[in-house]
């Protein structure tokens, strides 16, 4: 693992009048990794990204991107960082090609170099055919891929993608993620992406940070994260039986490994410290109830998501 730090946040805080959007965030991203910022909408992901680019001023704390503080030297940071905003927009009356050249010109890239890079990048994102058509004819997924080409034209060290998979069909998402992974591997580019969609992030991220209400509640590779978060009750059993009565519930709760039981009509959610499906099945059957469904979950991101983002802490 490469341990060279490229983005360093220390006690980063952003307050709007009453709301604290980012609350004392400390985080570092290594060079060459794909880091996922995970969290529900409104968790402060976009605010954090804007501060990384110097587009928003932190209330307190320190940021370093490539060793530079973006609050004071945003232009240098913006030369090194490509940012693809959520719902990226292009000049619809211009072609994809012209849009790319415009961005290149804003980055002071000479026209001959820009044309060469644009041709290469459009090929890479699969838009060569549509290059000279107006952007208004592009689909959502195409625009997103054009956006990727757009941030790559300045050959950045870091790319930051804000909700890159929003509103694209599954096939488009797959293509986009493969592309991101490929860029990361081939060019050693650091990728920071934010998302609320955990499955997609799970596929490509080396590490993720979980973000709730401006606080980073966990950080690390997804696998470690799951076992870390659920060390008390790492196994979840989903059981459907009929009839469910108080006696049955108490019987299940008395099992030494079971930590918690939730009941939804005939469906039971049983949290336990170990694999207890056989014992649970035995208890249910011996109580004369009919067992119709028993499923043991391993913790994926869905459970993390459910427990930390939706269910609250």
């Amino acid at each position: 693992m490469i341990s060279d730090t490229i983005i360093e946040l220390n006690g980063l805080t952003k307050k709007y009048e009453q709301l604290t959007a980012v609350d004392y965030l400390t985080l570092s991203v290594h060079r060459g990794e794909i880091f996922g910022l995970l969290g529900p909408n409104g968790a402060g992901k976009t605010t954090t990204i804007l501060m990384l680019l110097g587009l928003a001023e932190p209330t307190a704390g320190k940021i370093e991107v490539c060793g530079i503080d973006p609050t004071f030297q945003p232009l240098i940071v913006k030369e090194k960082v490509g940012y693809l905003p959520d719902e990226v927009g292009f000049y619809e009356n211009l072609s994809g090609w012209e849009n790319l050249l415009y961005t290149a010109a804003l980055n002071r890239i000479t026209i001959s170099v820009a044309e060469e890079r644009a041709r290469h990048l459009l090929g890479q994102v699969g838009l060569t055919q549509k290059a000279h058509e107006k952007v208004q004819t592009y689909s959502r997924g195409m625009k997103q891929r054009l956006g990727l080409a757009d941030i790559l034209i300045k050959e950045p060290e870091i790319i930051i993608l804000d909700e890159p998979t929003n509103g694209i069909d599954p096939e488009g998402v797959r293509e986009l993620l493969t592309l991101i992974k490929q860029l990361n591997r081939e060019k050693g580019m650091t990728v920071l992406l934010s998302s609320h969609n955990l499955h997609q992030v799970q596929q490509i991220c080396d590490r993720v940070g979980l973000f709730v209400e401006g606080k980073l509640i966990a950080i690390g590779p997804i696998k470690e994260l799951a076992s870390d978060l659920f060390k008390n009750d790492p196994v979840l059993l989903e059981v459907e039986a009929e009839p469910v009565d108080e006696q049955l519930l108490t019987a299940i709760k008395t099992n030494q490994y079971v930590t918690k039981v939730e009941q939804k009509q005939n469906c039971l959610l049983i949290f336990s410290r170990q694999h207890v499906s056989a014992e649970i099945a035995g208890i249910i059957v011996s109580h004369g109830a009919r067992l119709s469904h028993l499923n043991q979950h391993d913790y994926g991101l869905d459970e993390i998501y459910h427990r930390y983002f939706e269910g609250g802490m």
Binding site: T46, L50, L53, L55, A56, L75, I76, K78, E79, V81, G82, Y83, L84, P85, D86, E87, V88, G89, F90, Y91, E92, N93, Y102, T103, A105, L106, N107, R108, I109, T110, I111, S112, G147, D150, I151, K154, D162
Partner: protein
């Protein structure tokens, strides 16, 4: 006309690119200016505005021509025939200067009302801001691009009036007339610039371009229709009931005039009439004593300019003030995509 426009836009596309071929990237500021200018020229609204301006020129020339004969014979003291083309009217249509003071705001508002909020709603603003350019380049470049288009329009229109005037009357303008018209065009550009800046300010303030267009038009309507009414009401309620001496009356009169001068159109019409009608010697009240020994005759250009210097300064100051406001608003605004 579209063919001409296409050539024009092709020209704008080509020229800077050729320069870049010499391995010298253009400064990002001029890149934005170039793109904004191209956008405006390619847009339909530009064609509509151009058409409006052409109509204005033709209509005001027509009305001036039909009344030129009587205007010249009425006023034998001056020889500024050419200037009459801009000010004379037969009563059916307003003269050129009135047209400009009426249409100028529309042009300014039309070119500026969606300057910033359209970038925001298209989602291009955050992408633009993520490039290594200072934030103020965007608003400055938009202003420069729109103002240069306005200048181009106004100067074209002025030259058109010149050409058609010479063709129709057969009289060439004297150098003094030329300079007077030149300054008049300059003042027109500043005046339209005031409205452009107002429109840009609304485009920063309001997220919807329809709202900002409407607000611009509302301000324009307020100043062109209701403002004089409002001043009249104030005048009626504050008029001194007993006038004891002339000075009091004069100071009251100048108070009313200054109230009226809050409106940019008032400043504009005072400035331009003085420039185009050389016989105007003062904009304030004149007592009989002051007038009794004065010789009727035109003022030289320098004196006319001196007379309207405050108006000119005010117009420029208004433009700067409004631009400053929109600048501050823009710099302080949150950058969120499409919010």
């Amino acid at each position: 006309m579209t063919a001409v426009l296409q050539k024009l836009s092709a020209f704008f596309r080509r020229v800077p690119f050729n320069r870049e071929k010499a391995h010298q990237a253009q400064h990002p500021f001029w890149v934005i200016v170039r793109k904004e200018t191209m956008d405006q020229i390619n847009s339909r609204r530009f064609i509509i505005l151009l058409g409006l301006m052409l109509l204005t020129a033709i209509a005001s020339l027509y009305t001036a021509m039909s009344s030129l004969q009587s205007a010249i014979s009425e006023d034998t003291s001056t020889s500024f025939v050419f200037l009459k083309l801009f000010t004379a009217t037969d009563g059916t249509l307003p003269p050129f200067i009135t047209f400009i003071s009426l249409l100028g705001p529309i042009i300014g508002i039309a070119l500026g009302f969606d300057a910033v909020n359209s970038e925001r709603s298209r989602g291009t603003l955050s992408r633009l801001l993520a490039q290594p350019i200072s934030r103020d380049y965007i608003i400055n470049a938009k202003f420069v691009a729109s103002l240069s288009i306005i200048s181009m329009m106004v100067i074209t229109l002025g030259l058109l009036m010149f050409g058609m005037g010479i063709l129709l009357t057969g009289i060439p303008p004297t150098p003094e007339e030329f300079w007077r018209i030149f300054f008049f065009l300059l003042v027109s550009i500043v005046y339209i610039g005031v409205w452009l800046n107002l429109a840009i300010m609304f485009s920063v303030k309001f997220k919807q371009s329809a709202t900002s267009a409407l607000s611009g038009l509302a301000v324009w309507l307020f100043f062109s229709l209701f403002f004089t009414m409002l001043v009249n009401i104030i005048v009626q309620s504050t008029m001194p009931t007993q006038v004891t001496d002339v000075n009091q009356l004069i100071s009251y009169q100048s108070f009313v005039q200054n109230l009226l001068r809050i409106s940019p159109s008032q400043l504009f019409s005072e400035a331009t009439t003085t420039l185009l009608v050389p016989t105007i010697r003062t904009l304030g009240p004149v007592t009989v004593e002051q007038a009794s020994y004065a010789l009727a005759g035109p003022l030289p250009l320098g004196q006319s300019l001196l007379l309207v210097w405050p108006q000119l300064t005010c117009l420029v100051a208004e433009a700067c003030l409004i631009f400053g406001l929109s600048y501050v608003l823009f710099m302080k605004q949150e950058v969120r995509s499409r919010l």
